[in-house]
Symmetry: C2
Subunit: 139 residues, 2 copies
C-alpha cells in the first residue's frame, strides 16, 4: 500500500454536541417540508436558541404555511469543492408560529433573527427538533 | 432621502435561463422529500445534464429510497453572511433510479457525477424537474 496516496474520503457521523454547536454558529439553513403540491426546500436566515430554530417570514409568503403545525427537516451544511470535504447537520421536528403574547414580546426583544430582505416579516416560525443528526466527509 | 444610506435588500426572481445556468455550475445541492417518517433534506454532489439532476448513492443508504418514483425538491444556493446577499434555485419534480441497461451504460461512460466519499455507490438517481424557480437577495 502506498502511504503517500491520498486516503479515500469517508463519511463520519457527527456527535450530538457537535451538531448543536454548528447549529449555533450557523446563519443560513434550509427548511424542507411537504405541501399538498409536493416537497419544498427553501433557505432561511435563522437563530438557534434554547434548542429551537427560529426565523422570521412574511405572513403572505410560502414559508408562512409553517405557522400551522408542520413536520419539517432543517438542514445546514458547508462544503469545499476543491478538497471534496464538508459536513451537514439535519434537525427533524415540528414547526409552528409563535402566537402567545409573552412569547412574542420576548422574541421581539432579541437582536436575532433579523431577515436579510426588507419588508414586513412579523411572523416568527419556531422549529422544535426531535432528532438532530450530522455527518462529515473527510479525507 | 439620504442617497448615501444603504439601499434595503430585496428579493428578485431569477429568470429561468439563470436558474438553469446555476444548476449547471453547481456541484452540491440538497434533496428534500417526504418519507413515512416525515420530511428529509440531505446534501448530494450532482451533475445537471440534459435538463436532469443526476447523483450517485449507495443502495443501502437513506437516499436509495428515491430509486422508487418519489416527488422531490432539489435546492442549491449561495449566501454571503457579511453582505447579507445570496441566491437560491429550487427544482421540483420526480426522482427515480436509472435501470435501463443502455441508460446505465451511458451514465457509467460519463465522467460525472462522482461521489466524494469512497465506497460502492452504483445507484444513479435521476431527478426530472417539472418546475424550476429561483430568487436572489440583493442590496
Amino acid at each position: 500500500m502506498d502511504a503517500s496516496a491520498p486516503r479515500p474520503r469517508r463519511f463520519n457521523a457527527l456527535p450530538a454536541t457537535e451538531c448543536t454547536a454548528r447549529l449555533q454558529l450557523g446563519k443560513v439553513g434550509r427548511v424542507g417540508w411537504n405541501t399538498t403540491d409536493g416537497p419544498l426546500v427553501l433557505p432561511v436566515t435563522y437563530v438557534y436558541r434554547d434548542g429551537q430554530i427560529i426565523f422570521r417570514t412574511s405572513p403572505y409568503g410560502v414559508l408562512s404555511e409553517l405557522r400551522n403545525v408542520r413536520q419539517v427537516a432543517f438542514e445546514i451544511d458547508d462544503f469545499d469543492v476543491v478538497s471534496r470535504t464538508g459536513w451537514s447537520v439535519m434537525a427533524r421536528g415540528w414547526a409552528k408560529a409563535a402566537v402567545k403574547p409573552d412569547e412574542l414580546v420576548a422574541l421581539w426583544n432579541e437582536p436575532d433573527p433579523v431577515p436579510w430582505a426588507a419588508g414586513n416579516r412579523p411572523l416568527f416560525i419556531i422549529i422544535s427538533p426531535e432528532q438532530v443528526s450530522g455527518r462529515e466527509i473527510v479525507g
